[in-house]
């Protein structure tokens, strides 16, 4: 049980849900994404980076999850998702920009729980 992982996973999930709701809202309001979306995405990215550093520190200390390769892949992949999503949505001029943000937020929400699952798998 990673003591550092539980609370931050919940925080990441909450921020991801907020971002997804904001994205859907801007699509429904027929607007592009705004500073609010970018700010929340930045908070999400910050949390993901903190979480990645904590996990890397733990792994460097010898506490590696059994499926190390998959875990590392998720860990590296998840920090790219909000960045790629924000860049891809920012240049979109139609109302679908918000849906792009919502999709990437949902992806983070799924990936973070898969990460936790991989981390909490019993050590050999």
């Amino acid at each position: 049980m990673g003591p550092v992982q539980g609370p931050i996973v919940v925080a990441i999930t909450v921020v991801a849900v907020v971002l997804a709701v904001l994205g859907v809202a801007s699509t429904l309001a027929r607007r592009r994404i705004g500073l609010l979306h970018l700010a929340v995405a930045a908070v999400l990215e910050l949390l993901l980076l903190v979480q990645a550093v904590l996990a890397v520190v733990r792994m460097a200390g010898g506490d590696t999850p059994p499926e190390t390769a998959t875990f590392s892949g998720y860990l590296a992949g998840i920090v790219l998702v909000p960045v790629a999503g924000s860049l891809w949505a920012r240049t979109e001029q139609t109302r679908w920009a918000g849906t792009v943000v919502a999709v990437t937020a949902a992806v983070v929400g799924v990936m973070i729980w898969r990460l936790l699952q991989l981390w909490e798998a019993p050590r050999a």
Partner: protein, 162 residues
């Protein structure tokens, strides 16, 4: 100059030629990009760490990853070539998810480990089954819109300014 609002500027109508760069197509590309990443990473892990356990399943994983990558690139590039590439890749994807999904149910032994397409993409919330259908719909819709350039689609017109 328009005021930059925290909630975003009013949206404009879709334009451009690449199906993946306008409107709903951009959402599709975001999802395809995610699956290219997910399937690619999964295939890389499976092939590099335990290829001998289930070579067929893992090679299909890799094939799925390649198809997602090709579809993403085709949608983003657009044009005649890009559209055709996307059409071929998405059709292959639809066949793949149906065939692999069926085989994974019929013959569990041949698919001991999960692939993106196992049980019609159950491990990914069945998104792999829905995605090619949406992809083909977007390709078809943008193809119908492309030739007449003059009349802009009325349904996503910007709201009247206050």
């Amino acid at each position: 100059m328009r005021e930059i609002r925290a909630l975003g500027e009013p949206a404009t109508a879709a334009d451009g030629t690449a199906p993946g760069r306008r409107g709903a197509g951009r959402v599709l590309v975001a999802v395809y990009g995610t699956f290219a990443l997910a399937a690619g990473a999964r295939a890389a892990v499976q092939l590099s760490t335990k290829f001998a356990e289930a070579p067929v399943a893992y090679l299909l994983s890799a094939l799925a990853a390649v198809i997602y990558i090709v579809a993403t690139v085709g949608l983003v590039r657009g044009g005649r070539g890009g559209r055709r590439t996307a059409l071929v890749a998405i059709s292959a994807e639809l066949v793949g998810v149906l065939v692999v999904g069926t085989f994974s149910l019929a013959d569990r032994a041949a698919f001991p480990d999960e692939t993106v397409w196992s049980v019609y993409g159950q491990g990914y919330g069945f998104v792999p089954l829905v995605l090619p259908v949406l992809g083909l719909l977007v390709l078809r819709r943008t193809a119908q819109k492309s030739p007449p350039k003059s009349p802009p689609p009325p349904k996503s017109s910007p709201p009247p300014s206050p």
